[in-house]
Structures are given as structure tokens and as C-alpha cells.
């Protein structure tokens, strides 16, 4: 049973997506599939639903701003009115779907549910679900604020019409969307066919499930861009590089258990710590050893060759600050090219340099409540318009319970959660928004540690 049901609140799903994305197809599916829920629909593009349902209500987008000098938020007046009237027929339905126009900004819709005290009591915003036309989204993703915001706000994204694009195009699109919104669940669909439990009662705004969304989204910014696992024989190997965009590159070479992705993954966390150590500078001609030390290769010489000394044959992982392709870096053993058996990139594709991004912060330790209060107050006051969504779990000094929170723009909701008990205390939060400065957010947050 979810929180909404426990509190006798009606869950609400906000459905967004550009015209032609398959939003109405999805809505029709939701209305006709056998899930046992009686659904009321507030639709902006009235008359599109092919289902006979007297709980379908048309809405005219009507946005107004509330501002007290410090907090500014926009809400949907039409929704407040319609939902207010709808709730007088509370016994007729168990779920509400709000369909927005293709060009709608989901911000005011989401803020409406945070803003109105009575709606907070009676309704529970369950999720923002966005339907994306996998073939045509490329026409909008770069130049439409609405398309980007619909993606950024979403808890659930349907990549629809997958039959019209190749697997490679889909992977590219999914990576792009993931770089904008690292927290959303993404499903690939044809004709918006998706299991109903992926869309209804997903708990995207449920504080109890605030961080259940997807473990992937907590992936931090790594200090390295690439790692590869090599099968190396004993002896001296050679790492050869060409001129690249940077004068230095930090690297670490560590032994790993086997030539697998799992072994590489197991090395990631220890090597993050290695990368926080002081670096040992190494000029061309010097020797790299699998010592677990952070080595800074000086890349200013004419000939960029480094020896790699291996005493015991086996699996070794090389972590590099920059992608080796930027320097055409290659490893040779006895004059033969040695290729990595497995490799992994640690940065999203920055080809598009999206202005809409996610910043995830995960750090152990306790927070000073006063410092956190000051920081987050200032952050929301100055950057709240650019922060679309935020959510997280915090470890507050002196508090036995976890603190969970989430917010939309400048509005937020937070409360103590279950006790930490014997669990290691940590902080894990994510911001999704426009023009987010990762270093500033991370630095600001870490300065709140007690």
C-alpha cells in the first residue's frame, strides 16, 4: 500500500509530451486497461480521448504567479478550480490523470500540488510521466525549452514509437535523456504499450520512496573519464600517447581480480580515493607501476612514451583522467598492441553540452543543520527557478533518523524518515535543472558537513 492510499489521498499522474508523441494513445490505454481503478481525467486537448467517460474534464491552461519577495512560484489556477470541484465527487474515482498540452511547462502543474494546502491534504502527486516521440524528439530537444523541461521534470519517460528508429538511435537518445534527467525511469515502447504498474502508483513524489527511483542516478561525477582492464604479462610494456588537448593526465594502474566488468566495477571506489591523493608527476620516459598511486603524466615532451612495469602477470585496470582517444593512447607489450578486455567510460556524452542536467551528490558524514539551512535557503532563493526537481536523503548531525526531502523549484517538503540504526550514515541527493554548476553545488553541500 502506498502513502497516498494510507492517507486516503487520491494519487495524481501528470502526463506530458509533445503533440504526436503518443500521449493520448497512452491515456486511452490507461482508461481501457483492466487495472481496477476508476480514473478521472483532466485533459487540455479536450475531445481527443476516445473513451466514454463522464469523468473527463477539459481544462484551459491558466497560470498565475505567487510571489512573496523571496519565493516565487507559478501555479495553475484552472487545476485548483477543477480539482476542487472534482473532489466534491470523491466517491466516483480513485485516481486522477492530468494531461497537459504538448507545449506545456510541467513546472506550474507540479507546483500546484505543492502549493495548495487543501490539495496537499487530499491529493498525492504520484508522478510526472513524459511521452517522447523517439523519432521526432530530435527536432525539439535542442531548441524547445518545453521539450527539455518535460524530460527534466519526469519521473517516468516513455521512449515511444521505437519501431520507427534503429537500436543505435534509441541508445543515443536514451543516453541524451539520461544526461538531462538521471533520476527518471525510462521505458521503450511501441504504441505506448507499457505495463500499468510502470505508470500508475510509481511514487515519484512520495518521500518514503524518494530515493528508490534508480540506483544509477546516484552515480557521482568521477575524477576519471575512462578505465580499461588489460591482461598483462610480466615485463615492461609501453604506454604511447600523441599530443592532445591537455598538458597532463592523471592515471592510476591497479591490479584487479579478473578480466571482467565486475572486477573493474569493484576497483572504481578505491580508485576514486586514489584520485583524491597527491599525484606523483612522471615525465616521458618514466615508469608507471601498478602501485595504486596517482600518477600525473607530463605530456609536454615531443615523444610521449612511458614504461609500464609489470612484475606479476594478470589482470590490471588502468584509470585515466581523460579519455585515451583524446591522446590516441595505446598500450604495447613487446611491440604488440595490447587492447583492453573490458572498458568503461565514466562521463556522459558531452557532445551536446546540455543546459539541462542532473547533479547527484553522494557523500558520507553528518550535516550541520544550521549550515544546511543557510545554504539551501540561499540556493533556492538564487537558483530556485533553475532547479526543476530535487530530492534526497540526508544524515543530520545528532539526529537518529534519516531526513528525506524533495522539491519543485523553490518549494520543498521534508521530514524525518526511519532511523539509521546500524546502517552507515550518508547523504544522497540529486538536483535536476538548468545551468546547474556541479562544482558549486557539490562544494556548497560539502561545506555543510559538520
Amino acid at each position: 500500500m502506498n502513502t497516498a492510499m494510507l492517507n486516503n489521498q487520491v494519487p495524481v499522474t501528470v502526463l506530458t509530451g509533445f503533440l504526436g508523441s503518443g500521449k493520448t494513445t497512452l491515456l486511452n490505454r490507461i482508461l481501457t486497461e483492466n487495472h481496477g481503478k476508476r480514473i478521472a481525467v483532466i485533459e487540455n486537448e479536450f475531445g481527443e480521448i476516445g473513451v466514454d467517460n463522464d469523468l473527463v474534464i477539459g481544462a484551459e491552461e491558466e497560470i498565475f504567479e505567487m510571489n512573496n519577495g523571496c519565493i516565487c512560484c507559478t501555479v495553475r489556477g484552472d487545476l485548483i478550480r477543477i480539482l476542487g470541484n472534482l473532489m466534491k465527487r470523491r466517491d466516483k474515482f480513485d485516481y486522477i490523470m492530468v494531461e497537459t498540452t504538448g507545449l506545456a511547462d510541467p513546472g506550474p502543474v507540479a507546483q500546484t500540488f505543492f502549493m495548495d494546502a487543501e490539495m496537499q491534504e487530499k491529493l498525492q502527486l504520484d508522478s510526472v510521466t513524459t511521452v517522447v516521440d523517439a523519432k521526432h524528439i530530435w527536432q525539439h530537444i535542442d531548441d524547445s525549452d518545453e521539450a527539455r523541461e518535460q524530460i527534466a521534470f519526469a519521473d517516468v519517460i516513455l521512449l515511444n514509437k521505437i519501431d520507427l528508429v534503429t537500436e543505435e538511435e534509441l541508445n543515443q537518445l536514451e543516453a541524451r535523456i539520461r544526461s538531462m534527467n538521471a533520476a527518471a525511469k525510462i521505458y521503450r515502447t511501441k504504441d505506448a504499450a507499457v505495463e500499468m504498474d510502470k505508470i500508475l502508483d510509481v511514487g515519484g513524489f512520495d518521500l518514503d520512496r524518494a530515493m528508490e527511483v534508480d540506483p544509477q542516478f546516484m552515480e557521482p561525477e568521477y575524477p576519471f573519464e575512462w578505465a580499461g582492464v588489460y591482461n598483462l604479462s610480466a615485463g615492461t610494456h609501453e604506454l604511447i600517447l600523441q599530443d592532445g588537448p591537455d598538458p597532463t593526465m592523471k592515471v592510476a594502474l591497479v591490479p584487479v581480480n579478473e578480466l571482467t566488468d565486475e572486477a573493474l566495477q569493484a576497483a572504481v571506489e578505491p580508485v576514486v580515493i586514489v584520485f583524491s591523493d597527491d599525484e606523483h608527476e612522471l615525465s616521458a620516459g618514466g615508469t608507471v607501476q601498478p602501485s595504486g598511486q596517482l600518477i600525473e603524466l607530463n605530456l609536454t615532451a615531443d615523444e610521449l612514451r612511458f614504461d609500464v612495469q609489470i612484475d606479476h602477470p594478470g589482470a590490471y585496470a588502468l584509470f585515466t583522467e581523460h579519455h585515451p582517444d583524446e591522446f590516441q593512447a595505446q598500450l604495447f607489450g613487446s611491440g604488440t598492441l595490447v587492447k583492453p578486455v573490458v572498458e568503461r567510460e565514466f562521463k556522459p556524452d558531452h557532445e551536446h553540452d546540455d543546459e539541462v542536467t542532473s547533479v547527484g551528490i553522494t557523500t558520507p558524514g553528518d550535516l550541520d543543520p544550521d549550515r544546511l539551512n543557510d545554504w539551501i535557503g540561499n540556493l533556492l532563493r538564487t537558483k530556485g527557478l533553475d532547479i526543476f526537481r530535487m530530492k534526497g536523503i540526508l544524515s543530520i548531525k545528532g539526529q537518529p533518523n534519516r531526513f528525506v526531502f524533495q522539491g519543485v523549484h523553490m518549494l520543498f517538503d521534508g521530514r524525518p524518515d526511519r532511523p539509521w540504526g546500524g546502517e552507515r550514515r550518508y547523504n544522497s541527493l540529486i538536483f535536476i535543472g538548468r545551468n546547474l554548476d556541479r562544482a558549486e553545488l557539490t562544494g556548497g553541500f560539502e561545506a555543510c558537513l559538520a
Binding site: 505567487m66 519565493i71 489556477g77 491534504e121 543543520p369 539551512n373
Partner: protein, 86 residues
């Protein structure tokens, strides 16, 4: 100052209903007029930490907004009546 640890989202439903009913009476609103009541926190020093904002949505368009510089729990009928004078 903003209080992150008390986001003021929990409003007493009874007080909320009472305030809405005072608003309807004071402004002589019919039953189908929506009234929104919310509390906004202020993050700047010198501002009241929490204020109650009331929006009356009589007709589609721009709603009338009023502010009372105290939390919802402390709002009294006289505060609402005084809004009608403004």
C-alpha cells in the same frame, strides 16, 4: 529564515477549512468559487518566516491574492475581514 526542517507543509485541516469559510463569508463568495490557501516561507532576514497567502479564483484569469503576515495556525477571522477593506 527558511527552515528546511520544518517545511510548513502540514496544515491543520480544521483551521484550513475555517479560514476558507471565513474568506467565503467575508468576500460573499458563491460555493463554486475556489479559494486557495497556502503558507510561504521566506528565506531573507527581516521577513516574517512564514506568511499565509490566499488566492480567490472567482473567474478564469488572474486571481485576487492576499497575504497575511503570520502562519495559517495564527490567522483569525478579523485578519480575513480586514482584507476586504483593502
Amino acid at each position: 529564515m527558511l527552515n528546511f526542517f520544518n517545511s510548513q507543509k502540514e496544515s491543520d485541516p480544521q483551521q484550513l477549512g475555517q479560514v476558507k469559510s471565513w474568506v467565503s463569508q467575508a468576500f460573499d463568495l458563491s460555493e463554486d468559487v475556489s479559494v486557495m490557501v497556502t503558507q510561504l516561507q521566506c528565506t531573507e532576514e527581516g521577513c516574517p518566516p512564514v506568511e499565509t497567502v490566499i488566492a480567490i479564483m472567482k473567474t478564469p484569469g488572474k486571481p485576487r491574492q492576499y497575504k497575511i503576515h503570520k502562519p495559517l495556525a495564527e490567522v483569525e477571522q478579523t485578519d480575513i475581514v480586514s482584507l476586504t477593506a483593502g
